[in-house]
Amino acid sequence: MRYRVEVEGRDFEIEVDLEGRIWLNDRPLDVDMEQVDGLPQYSLLVDHRSYETVVEGEREGECRLVVAGRPYLARFLDRQRSPAQAVYRHRAEGAAQVLAPLPGLVVEVGVEEGQRVEEGDRVAVLESMKMHLELRAPRSGIVRAVHISPGAEVAQGEVLVIVTPLPQSGGTGNPENS
């Protein structure tokens, strides 16, 4: 199986055969990867060079890792090789959600249902850890739902506002799969 992966601007062509042997850019590479401490943490010996990698998260075509304490993002350039396809849900209709990036208190709501917004418009302000966070519209369109009001406590990841595209903007080409 052949992979193309990009990490921090560097491209790697990695091939793994049925026995698990590995080639990097068509040169054989001695790789031993071992899960350690029963955690999503791996000890890698690459031609005997030792690395400790921690997998922090995966989503479509991407894998977020920490190597020697530094965060790295690995992107599968061949989308088909993405580890998480099955789980991620595309919204075919192009609707975009504003999620709470942190748990916090809603101190301001700047939009109403049915209102038109431009990408980047402020839709709400959240107070968290004594900081005010501005949440902005992820796309231009119509506000379809506002699930919050000032004073509400929200959990991390909670859907606060949903924006759908205007008919004309939604009709052109494929929706982005972001």
């Binding site: 560097r10 990867m33 899960q35 029963g38 894998c63 890792l65 530094r70 965060p71 900081m131």
Partner: protein, 498 residues
């Protein structure tokens, strides 16, 4: 008063820090906690623990009345406020005294005198301590604008009742000053319940140096040398060290003498810090007094061997200092990195969540003061300080390489932290050379450079994980039993025996 039981009116790493010394001294301890902190380390560490209210600080850690009630009920003789929260509240200190409790900190009158930054400047002026040009009294908006013309731009707008770098703003022109004043008043009111402001001339590329003071009730005042805290982000300290590379012996002598003189003049009792600004010209200026234990007291402990919390407790019990000035013989160099749950790559936004894995560094010269444990949830109610990492070495160079080594060992999985920012800072040649100032971070911040080999390791991990999943699906192989499965099954294994 004989102190046998101490209530710690704080949470997080500083509550654990104080609890540790109390335990070493054989004192009984009482923790207080908000509903968000039931599982916290300090609750589990103390001998007793009492819930004092819901998560917001106004309803819990700032409720002095409830805390005093708990202290009485639990039979504590003294209250240690840590830093922040009620540590600089003269009202709380008075209420403690009225309730017959020892407040472990300076006298309320002293706190008032030095807590009002203008009043503190006035004392310093009388003692002929060097001061930055600034306002000498509380002024209204127009008065501030007028005063700024005499001080000269740029100016810093600061809260009279402020502290800890909160709410400081820069104005580089009269126009900017006019727009900043109302915001600054609102912030000051919100943070300190007092909208008074004062101005101070902004010195660009200055360094922040402070002197640790210990003073007992019997008139003994000594200093434990200086700390430098120039590596800041948004006026919040990030890396501190002791001693300071910016001082030569003569300047050190003068600054420390000035600090002792000031604290003697205000009749200070307890542990406290006098903060100075060091201009690029080598002149120093009095900034303010912090009448409490500071986050960065650990670097002073590392080079002097003195347990500052223990001295606070001795002083509060009315005993004499355990040291004279000549007993203080600093040795080597120490650095502290504040490990914060925040994302430096995205404007230092706070990060919350569960700590899935925690592995703290160890070995020679390393001290970790942590307020968290593995599995714990970091909430958004309180500040983002997870832990402090302190490295000691015989020289500054050794302390730096140890700190780098320890940062590389640190593992915090589940939250975004500033560990990588610390790595980048410690790796920088300018930091190593000691050539930095309070805006160093803003001017030189960089995420550490990606390393080619580490990129490959990341790519291989991602690829092999994917390949193994596919291979596992194909040939029915699976990853070996993982620990969380082990743990999960463990709980249900009642019938198994051992």
């Amino acid at each position: 008063m004989k102190i046998r039981k101490v209530l710690i009116a704080n949470r997080g790493e500083i509550a654990v820090r104080v609890l540790r010394t109390c335990r070493e001294l054989g004192l009984e301890t009482v923790a207080v906690f908000s509903e968000a902190d039931r599982e916290s380390l300090h609750v589990r560490y103390a001998d007793e623990a009492y819930c004092i209210g819901p998560p917001p600080v106004q309803e819990s850690y700032l409720r002095g009345d409830r805390i005093i009630e708990v202290a009485r009920r639990a039979g504590a003789q003294a209250i240690h406020p840590g830093y922040g929260f009620l540590a600089e509240s003269p009202g709380f200190a008075r209420a403690c005294a009225e309730a017959g409790l020892v407040f472990i900190g300076p006298r309320p009158e002293t706190m008032e005198q030095v807590g009002d930054k203008i009043a503190a400047r006035r004392v310093a002026k009388q003692l002929r301590l060097p001061l930055l040009p600034g306002t000498e009294e509380e002024l209204d908006d127009a008065g501030l604008v007028e005063a700024a013309r005499h001080i000269g731009y740029p100016v810093l707008v600061k809260a009279v009742a402020g502290g800890g770098g909160v709410g400081i703003r820069v104005a580089r022109s009269e126009e900017e000053l006019r727009s900043v004043i109302p915001l600054a008043r609102r912030e000051a009111q919100a943070a300190f319940g007092d909208d008074g402001l004062y101005l101070e001339r902004l010195v660009e590329r200055a360094r922040h140096v402070e002197v640790q003071i210990l003073a007992d009730e019997h008139g003994h005042v000594i200093h434990l040398g200086e700390r430098e805290c120039s590596i800041q982000r948004r006026h919040q300290k990030l890396i501190e060290e002791a001693p300071s590379r910016a001082l030569n012996p003569a300047l050190r002598e003068r600054i420390c003498e000035a600090a002792v003189r000031l604290m003697k003049a205000v009749g200070y009792v307890g542990a406290g810090t006098v903060e100075f600004l060091l201009g690029p010209d080598g002149d120093f200026y009095f900034l303010e007094v912090n009448p409490r234990l500071q986050v960065e007291h650990t670097v002073t402990e590392a080079i002097t061997g003195v347990d500052i919390v223990k001295e606070q407790l001795r002083i509060a019990a009315g005993r004499e200092l355990g040291y004279t000035q000549s007993d203080i013989r600093p040795r080597g160099w120490a650095l502290e990195c504040r490990i914060l749950a925040e994302d430096p790559a995205h404007g230092f936004t706070p990060s919350v969540g569960r700590i899935l894995q925690l592995r703290e560094p160890g070995g020679p010269g390393i001290r970790v003061d942590s307020g968290v444990s593995e599995g714990m949830v970091v909430t958004s109610y309180y500040d983002s300080l997870l832990a402090k990492l302190i490295a000691w070495g015989e020289t500054r160079g050794v302390a730096i390489v140890r700190m780098r080594r320890a940062l590389a060992e640190y593992r915090i999985v589940g939250l975004t932290t500033n560990l990588d920012l610390h790595r980048a800072l410690l790796d920088s040649h300018r930091f190593f050379g000691g050539q930095f100032h309070t805006r160093f971070l803003e001017e030189h911040f960089a995420r550490s450079e990606p390393e080619g080999e580490q990129c490959l390791a990341a790519a291989l991990t991602a690829v092999l994980l994917d390949w193994r999943r596919r291979a596992g699906a194909r040939v029915g192989r699976s990853e070996p039993a993982s620990r969380w499965r082990t743990l999960g099954r463990w709980e249900a294994m009642g019938g198994r025996g051992w």
